[in-house]
Every structure is written in C-alpha cells, then in structure tokens.
C-alpha cells in the first residue's frame, strides 16, 4: 500500500472544507462572540458588583475553567436533550472560553492607570460613562491579542463537539477513514487545515501585539 495518495487527499478535501466552514468556523465565530461578551460582563461584574454576587461568579468561572470541555458538553447535552447539538456546543464553548477571557479583560482593566479613573472622577463623569468611554476602550486595546490567542485555542477545541454527535471536520475525516479503511490522508488533511487556519492568525496576532505595544 502506498503511504500517501494525493488523489485521496484531493478527494477528501471538499467534504473536509465544507465541515470546516459549516461547523468549525461557525462554532468558533459564534462561540468567540459569546465568550467575548460574557467574559467582559463577568470581568466588570467582578469589579463592580457586591461581594455576594462577585464571589460566586468567580467560583463558578473557576470551576468551569478547571473541568474539561468534553465533560461539560456531555453534561449539557444530556441535560437539555431537546436542543440540537450545534447550538449547545457553541454555548458550551462560549461559556468555557468566557472563563478565560474574563481573566484577560481583568488584567487589561487592572492595567488602565489609576490616573485615568481619577481624571474621569475629576471631570464628574458617571461611573457607567467612565467604564464605557475611558476604561473599556483602553483595556480592549491591550487585551486584543490575548483574546485572539484564546479564539485560536477555541478553534482547535471545536472537534470536541463530536462527543455530542456534531459532525465537525475531524469526525468527517474519521468517517471518510471508516468508509475507505484509509485514514492517513483525511486525518492529515484535517490537521493541515487547522494549521493553515491557526498559524497565520497567530502570526498576525503577534504583529498586532507588537504594534499595540509600541504605541
């Protein structure tokens, strides 16, 4: 048996790309939006809410961050067994990564100099306006690259959706393998597609980080 066939690689490529766009990309984009928004809300809650709210929120986030996505997916899947897998999967990814992104925002918010808060107070700006117009815009600048690295991380976690029967690109590759009894090309191509998607993005992020750092 040949150990690599370009014919097979090209044959499997279209179905992998379709699964990549329909599942991997969609889950990453929607999951990232959920994570980015929820993470910000959590970070602000932890800074502004009274302790009896902030503490439990923190504890729940810590718990989510320290347990596997796979088991979280299964848990949610069997709890809400009427909702379709893709929807649940996207929400689980989003919430899981919100627990990481909240920490990114937190460090970004902490990095906004105290003088900025004081200046806003001196101008009699309301707390809400200070957050919206002064703190968050500055915090976002410094956190953007770090948020981006978590998005790339999420992209590579999307194959876990397979445990709740969402057919993502890697499952598609495996299915091709079980159809043809040859896994080499399909799984390798799936890996290369991930590499092609994540490596250039991380290079861009590094550049973005340098640009933001010099400013």
């Amino acid at each position: 048996m040949d150990w690599w066939s370009w014919d097979r690689a090209l044959e499997v490529l279209p179905e992998l790309l379709v699964a990549f766009v329909q599942v991997t990309l969609v889950a990453t984009v929607i999951g990232s939006v959920i994570a980015a928004v929820l993470g910000l809300i959590i970070a602000i809650t932890r800074r502004t809410a009274p302790a009896f709210i902030a503490r439990p929120v923190h504890a729940v986030m810590e718990f989510i961050r320290m347990t596997p996505i796979v088991i979280q997916l299964l848990f949610v899947f069997y709890t809400f067994n009427t909702v379709d897998g893709m929807t649940l999967g996207v929400i689980v990814l989003g919430v899981h990564y919100a627990s990481y992104m909240a920490e990114v925002y937190r460090s970004g918010i902490d990095a906004v100099p105290k003088g900025q808060w004081e200046a806003a107070t001196a101008l009699s700006m309301s707390p809400a306006r200070t957050w919206r117009k002064v703190v968050i815009p500055q915090a976002l600048r410094t956190t953007l690259p770090a948020l981006g690295t978590w998005v790339i991380s999420m992209l590579k976690d999307t194959p876990y959706l397979t445990v709740i029967f969402v057919v993502d690109m890697v499952r598609q590759a495996e299915n091709y393998g079980s159809r043809t009894f040859v896994y080499t090309e399909s799984i390798t191509m799936a890996g290369l597609i991930f590499l092609a998607a994540s490596y250039p993005t991380s290079v861009l992020l590094r550049r973005l980080e340098k640009r933001l750092a010099t400013y």
Partner: protein
C-alpha cells in the same frame, strides 16, 4: 436521591479505575510534555539553525494542529504503517506532544527573561555552557516558568477527556456510565466534574508550593496570591496574567515573557 448514592457506591470501583486511567494519561502526558518542552524550548533559542529551525517547525506544527487530530493520527494512521499503539500510549503521545509544544514556548520565554547579567557573570567565571545553563540559568528560569507550566498541566488534564472519544474507560467514560445507571445526569456529571476539579486543584496547590520553594531558593518573597490561588496565564505566549485572587496591581499584564 438515596438511590443515586447507592448507585454511586456501587460505581465506586469503576470510578476509581476511571480516575486511574485519567491520572495515567495526565502523568504520562505531563512527563512527556516536560521533556519535549525542554528539548524544543532550548532548541528554539539555539543560535545554530540546524537546532533552531526544526524546533520551531515542530512547535508550530504541534500547536497548530488540533489535539484530537494528533490523537486520531496515532490511533488510526500509525497502525496503517504497522505500528499498533495501545490507546493509553496514543493518548500520552498526543497530549505530551501537543502541550509540550506550548510548554516549549514557556521554557524559551522563561530562559530569555533571566537577566543578561547572570549569563555574563557566568561567562566571566569561565563556566562551561552546560554548567552555566544547568546551575545558574535554569534554577532562575524554573521559578519564572512554574505558574505557566502549571496552567498547561491543568489544560492537559482537561485534554485527557479526549480519551473518551477513542473509547478509553477514563473518568469521563465512567461518569457517563454512572449517568446511565442512575438516569440522573445532574448527579452523575456533578460527581465527574468535581472529580476533575479536585485533581486540577491539587495540581495547582502542588505548583504553588513548588513555586514558593523555587522563589525562596532565589531569596525572593513568596509569589503573590498565596498558596491556594489559581493563576491564569496566556496559553499561546505564556505571558503571566495577574494573580486571580490578588486585587489590583496589573504587573506583567501583556507580554511579560517574549
């Protein structure tokens, strides 16, 4: 509810063996990842390109392709070349290579952040390159890298749940078995998740104690956040984020380790 606990007690031997599989994957993965991190991390900062370029390529390759892809590669593709690997070994290899590549960046960054004067003083004393690295630079870099490595170790533990996908009877698998016998998802998965959480938290505690010890040897104060805090670092750049429990003081927020 008492039915649940009866089922739990009946399932304890299975859960214990599930935890054992998860721990085997974790320990094996962490050990392999650590070795790979040191080799690739040192390779990536070598001035000689025959060491640097392959290290860089391997790091980007194992970071850039998904963990599950790597697992499937060992599980489905290697047998086609006549190399039949035991599922546990597949898991350890995939976990070790994937997280080892991330950890290599941590090692590289930590070594680079040891002050230049330390290298120069060692050179001025004519210490050999190996001794310089091992006795002078490494102990200092080690103290810097512990929090980031601990984070990756926890992520690796979470990653072991992929073993469920290749039908290994790990903690996730046994958790799902418990769901089937009790019919109570909330209960069964609560048990499973608490199991993972406890293992992860023990790892964090161990890392905090290690870090405290390493810093004391360097004559530095204890790490901020205390023994029980969980600190988060950026996975890709390994830049430390401020201690989760220590209020304020955004030290080293962005790219502290380049």
């Amino acid at each position: 509810m008492s039915d649940n606990f009866d089922a739990l007690i009946a399932a304890l031997p299975d859960l214990r063996s599930g935890v054992f599989i998860t721990l085997q994957l974790t320990v094996g993965g962490v050990v392999l990842a650590f070795v790979i991190a040191i080799v690739l991390g040192l390779g990536a900062r070598s001035p000689r390109w025959p060491a640097r370029v392959p290290s860089r390529i391997l790091i980007e390759f194992f970071r850039g392709t998904s963990l599950l892809v790597q697992l499937f590669w060992f599980f489905y593709v290697m047998p086609l070349f006549g190399i039949k690997l035991d599922a546990l070994l597949c898991g350890v290899l995939a976990l070790g290579l994937n997280y080892g590549a991330y950890a290599a960046e941590v090692v590289r960054g930590a070594i680079n952040s040891v002050p230049k004067g330390q290298w120069e003083a060692a050179t001025a004393l004519s210490l050999s390159p190996v001794r310089k690295l091992r006795k002078i630079i490494w102990p200092q870099a080690w103290a810097i890298m512990i929090p980031s490595l601990a984070n990756l170790a926890v992520m690796l533990l979470k990653g072991t749940a992929v073993a469920y996908i290749i039908l290994m009877h790990d903690l996730t698998w046994e958790t799902d078995q418990l769901r089937q016998t009790t019919g109570n998802t909330f209960f069964a998965y609560g048990v499973g998740m608490i199991g993972y959480f406890l293992i992860a938290y023990l790892m964090v505690l161990g890392a905090n104690a290690l870090e405290r010890h390493a810093k004391r040897r360097l004559g530095q104060g204890p790490p901020k956040g205390g023994l029980f805090s969980v600190r988060i670092t950026d996975k890709a750049t390994a830049a430390p984020m401020p201690a989760a429990n220590a209020g304020g003081g955004g030290a080293g927020a962005g790219g502290g380790v380049v």
